[in-house]
């Protein structure tokens, strides 16, 4: 049988959205369904999740009731400070930006700059072509050799010693 805990909450004491959030806050450990109870009440039905501990199950109702009280206070503070908060964020966002730049400033290069860049790229490409083409490859830095070619693949035998 699945264990169910039902708690009735008066809408005179708590608003509907307060009850919803309090139920949501405990939904990490339980499945929750809210529904109308007796007149002027909401019934919160909780079913602890299979991995919920016995301690959690025993304390679930108290946890929900605590969340109700917390959320009531939180809601009142939020309502009283909503405009102030909006003002603060707007003030912070409206301050002059010295960090941002316009996308158009760096969107492209002038024709002369493009030409210079193309020339530099062509130079790099020629260097790479020279390095990789022909029988006598010059590779003084060993750039074209892979790690395995240089060192061989050594199978791991012992624990690495410091």
């Amino acid at each position: 049988m699945k264990e169910k805990i039902s708690v009735s909450v008066s809408l005179k004491s708590y608003k509907a959205d307060t009850i919803r959030y309090a139920a949501y806050a405990v939904s990490g450990g339980a499945y929750v369904l809210l529904g109308p109870g007796k007149k002027g009440e909401v019934e919160a039905a909780f079913e602890p999740k299979p991995n919920a501990s016995a301690k959690y199950r025993a304390g679930l109702q108290k946890l929900f009731e605590s969340e109700l009280r917390d959320e009531k206070m939180r809601s009142e503070i939020a309502d009283a400070n909503r405009e102030l908060r909006e003002f603060m964020v707007l003030k912070a966002l409206s301050a002059a930006d010295d960090a941002g730049t316009q996308a158009g400033d760096y969107a492209g290069l002038t024709p002369a700059q493009e030409k210079e860049l193309d020339a530099l790229i062509a130079e790099v490409e020629r260097e790479i072509k020279t390095e990789t083409a022909g029988k006598e490859r010059k590779d003084p830095l060993g750039i074209t050799k892979t790690w395995e070619e240089k060192h061989g693949s050594e199978p791991f035998k012992n624990k690495n010693k410091k």
């Binding site: 009142e76 301050a95 791991f156």
Partner: protein, 487 residues
């Protein structure tokens, strides 16, 4: 919990001693309070009761501190609080700074938790070609950020050396012509590193980063290398780059190499050994990263995964050990802690894209796949590799910069990660310092916004914040932690 109701009638008759907006969290009978500007304070139960009821008076012990931190309504310094908010959220003023170039999907490792969709060495058609690389550099330089970082990743990026080298050269030349500040980084397993490659990378001021999961047996268990012992390469080249960093004097900056730790089930219980491995190699940062259920890790979770509680316990042990080493004079810090502390006590933006509001998807970072496809981030690219293109924002050949960063996917991710719209986050004392990941939420819970009461990432972040705030209460730990900020 507080039984007194606030003395609030209508908004026009709010008593001035009633508090402005704040968040709170009860921790072992004490209360952590925080506000949107990022200030925080601790109150005992009695003081919290008076504070929340609006009955705190000037003679109260906590009054002066709360007053200076924006918790007393009629003492608010709007300019200071707005400045702190702005500084902590400076990422809102500019576009993507991090550009991740996936040079190839090929790799010679088969890491148990791979999130990059790595494929075999012999695979065809999985390398970034030069036209795509050039176009990607051009695209990245269109960012509205004043500076950018191009980070070369894979698979193993060194497997596509020819194009990588050309891209580095091109990007550096573009930097000079554009006037933007460019940082270049390479994330590599180092198995393919050579002296020649190293020289070129250092001459072009490319910073090096690798993965180091701990001592050899642990590292090699997590990161299986087809060429042999993955750990040997990592140690060898970390030592090499550290020596070069110490030497300097070459006419260009040589950055200290860094390493990332990915915690698997095999790491649990071995925190001191792992930290000692980092310290022994002279690394100054350990970035303790939890697994995410993305990529290979999703399918092998039962073998390598763990609960949030397990990770938090590991993190606590690791941080404690690192602080102990610090007290003995070692120069080593935990990177995630350092970045979060920049927000908590530094009131500045550490540029930690995973932990900001809104998250960095498209507006803070872009991932460029080998074929020019653009994604919100590397995790979003991995979701696409698994068959879901939700996080694709365009293609370098077809789409403009503006179109990509303002597409519907970008907008959805930004909205989904805006914490004021998250039911749990908007009420959480840690929210001024936190952030959610829409990709994680989608992969783990089926939607961009997720469901925080049952979200494991939320659980381990709460655990980490709990540890950090607790450490900050200890004066000796606080002294060390303060040094970690803006090192």
């Amino acid at each position: 919990m507080a039984q007194n109701l606030l003395k609030i009638k209508t908004k026009n008759s709010v008593a001035q001693t009633n508090p402005p907006h704040f968040y709170w969290r009860e921790v072992d009978g004490a209360y952590l309070i925080s506000n949107d500007s990022g200030c925080h304070a601790w109150l005992d139960a009695a003081a919290f009761k008076r504070f929340s009821a609006g009955t705190l008076r000037e003679k109260d012990k906590a009054f002066e501190e709360l007053s200076s931190k924006g918790f007393i309504r009629d003492r608010l310094d709007f300019a200071d609080l707005a400045a702190k908010w702005k500084s902590k959220n400076s990422h809102l003023s500019c576009g993507p700074g991090l550009h991740i170039f996936v040079m190839t999907l090929r790799c010679d490792h088969k890491c148990l938790y791979c999130q990059s969709g790595a494929i075999s060495l012999s695979a065809k058609g999985a390398d970034m070609k030069w036209p795509a690389a050039k176009k990607s550099v051009d695209f990245a330089f269109q960012t509205t950020a004043p500076g950018l970082t191009i980070e070369f990743q894979g698979g193993e990026p060194l497997l596509n050396w020819a194009v990588l080298k050309k891209t580095v050269s091109y990007a550096r030349k573009k930097e000079k012509l554009s006037g933007k500040r460019l940082n270049l980084g390479l994330v590599s397993n180092f198995s393919r590193m050579t002296e020649g490659y190293a020289r070129f990378l250092l001459e072009n001021e490319v910073s090096l980063c690798t993965s180091l999961d701990g001592p050899a047996d642990l590292h090699n268990r997590n990161r299986i290398c087809s060429g042999g012992n993955a750990h040997v390469s990592v140690r060898k080249w970390l030592r090499y780059f550290t020596r070069r960093n110490t030497g300097q004097g070459a006419g260009y900056r040589i950055f200290k190499p860094s390493a990332l730790l990915t915690v698997t089930k095999f790491s649990l219980g071995r925190a001191p050994e792992i930290i000692d491995e980092y310290a022994g190699l002279g690394l100054e940062d350990v970035f303790i990263r939890p697994l995410s259920p993305i990529g290979y890790a999703k399918n092998s979770w039962s073998a390598i995964g763990y609960t949030a509680a397990d990770f938090v316990a590991f993190y606590k042990e690791s941080l404690g050990y690192i602080l102990k080493l610090n007290r003995k004079g070692a120069v080593i810090r935990e990177k995630m802690a350092a970045m979060l502390l920049e927000k908590i006590i530094g009131f500045s933006d550490p540029g930690y894209l995973d932990m900001r509001c809104p998250c960095g998807a498209a507006v803070g970072q872009i991932a460029y796949n080998y074929n020019g496809d653009l994604y919100t981030c590397d995790e979003g690219r991995m979701a696409a590799w698994e068959g879901d293109d939700l996080f694709k924002i365009g293609n370098v050949f077809r789409d403009s910069y503006k179109k990509a960063v303002s597409c519907s996917t970008a907008r959805s991710c930004v909205a989904a990660s805006e914490l004021h719209l998250q039911p749990a986050c908007s009420r959480c004392a840690y929210s001024p310092y936190c952030g959610v990941c829409p990709v994680y939420n989608y992969e783990a819970q089926g939607s961009l916004w997720g469901n925080m009461p049952a979200n494991e990432r939320c659980a381990f972040m709460k655990g980490i914040f709990g540890i950090l705030f607790s450490k900050l209460k200890n004066s000796k730990d606080r002294e060390i932690l303060q040094k970690w900020v803006k090192k």
